[in-house]
Symmetry: C2
Subunit: 162 residues, 2 copies
DNA sequence: TTAGTTGCAAATATTTTGCACCCTT
DNA sequence: AAGGGTGCAAAATATTTGCAACTAA
């Protein structure tokens, strides 16, 4: 699959702005005794204005369009901070770079991924969620998180003959 | 989690021998016009006699105990061949090295992973499998494969206070 | 001023590839 | 003989870290 193919085809999701994130992020930063910074805000803002499931190489590219001096390490450090703060989560659908997804104020969901065009569709299935708990219980596990990814051909790709 | 911790704790699974694998592997090798080799057999045999969900660094270590001259590249090449032949599958539970799992003659299953001790438990839930199909259908997807991983604390780790 | 933040380069970690030489067919 | 298999080193990919200079508190 060509790099970045999925970007344009991805389904729209509710978008949060820097304002939505600023509160929780500030609280986390303060609690850890860290400082605030303009570059961090720029990275967060750029991430929020991009499509979901973004790789950090693409994010850096977008950040540099506004401030060419920003380094890759800072992007990694910033996203790791957001992850520690529980505002974003990482996804690894295929091999290759880890993708980041905003989770603040969004309900849990899992993913359907088209192996041909890269389309990513989010889904929630309450029955599956409940059955998971049951399975975990049967094995004595206390469930903390899960990852449920289904790969196949999306409707468009099925039509256009894969 | 300490490297390799999960190895000893992993649940036993039906073990296949080189004899089980030799037939399908030979057929695949012949169909692709490849040659056979002793080192390949040694790697396959060593993989089969190890626990499930093995990383290639650990596999190389075990292979070198029998033949110190073997190189890492050959281990990668051999396991990639097995994967192309549909005999093994890769798993990526956490970050870090990809783990390999034999699938020949084994029914599909998913995984429960203990985030504290690394225990890996395999499970199958027919109801979940069926619901997955339904979800895929609702979104117009033709499902080809899926990955369902649940992370939490196993019974032992819950008892010993995590 | 104290301590976190940043860019850059170097280091890690994982996996792949080029190439000369060896082994199968 | 022809062509795949192997080890080694180098490359490629993804991510992290050391460090000196910069900036927030």
């Amino acid at each position: 699959m060509p790099k970045g193919t999925h970007a344009a085809k991805e389904e729209a999701a509710t978008r949060r702005t820097l304002e939505d994130v600023r509160g929780p992020l500030r609280a986390f930063v303060k609690a850890k005794g860290l400082h605030e910074s303009k570059i961090r805000d720029l990275i967060v803002e750029t991430f929020l204005s991009s499509q979901e499931h973004l790789g950090l190489d693409q994010l850096l590219e977008r950040v540099r369009a506004k401030n060419p001096g920003v380094g890759m390490a800072t992007v990694y450090r910033t996203m790791r901070l957001l992850e520690e703060a529980g505002l974003v989560q990482t996804r690894n659908f295929n091999a290759g770079p880890t993708l980041y997804e905003m989770v603040l104020g969004r309900p849990h969901h899992d993913h359907l991924i088209c192996t041909r065009c890269g389309l990513i569709v989010e889904f929630v299935s309450e029955p599956i969620e409940r059955l998971q708990e049951k399975v975990a219980e049967q094995h004595g596990f206390q469930l903390m998180r899960h990852r449920h990814e289904m790969f196949g051909l999306c409707a468009d790709c099925r039509r256009s003959g894969a």
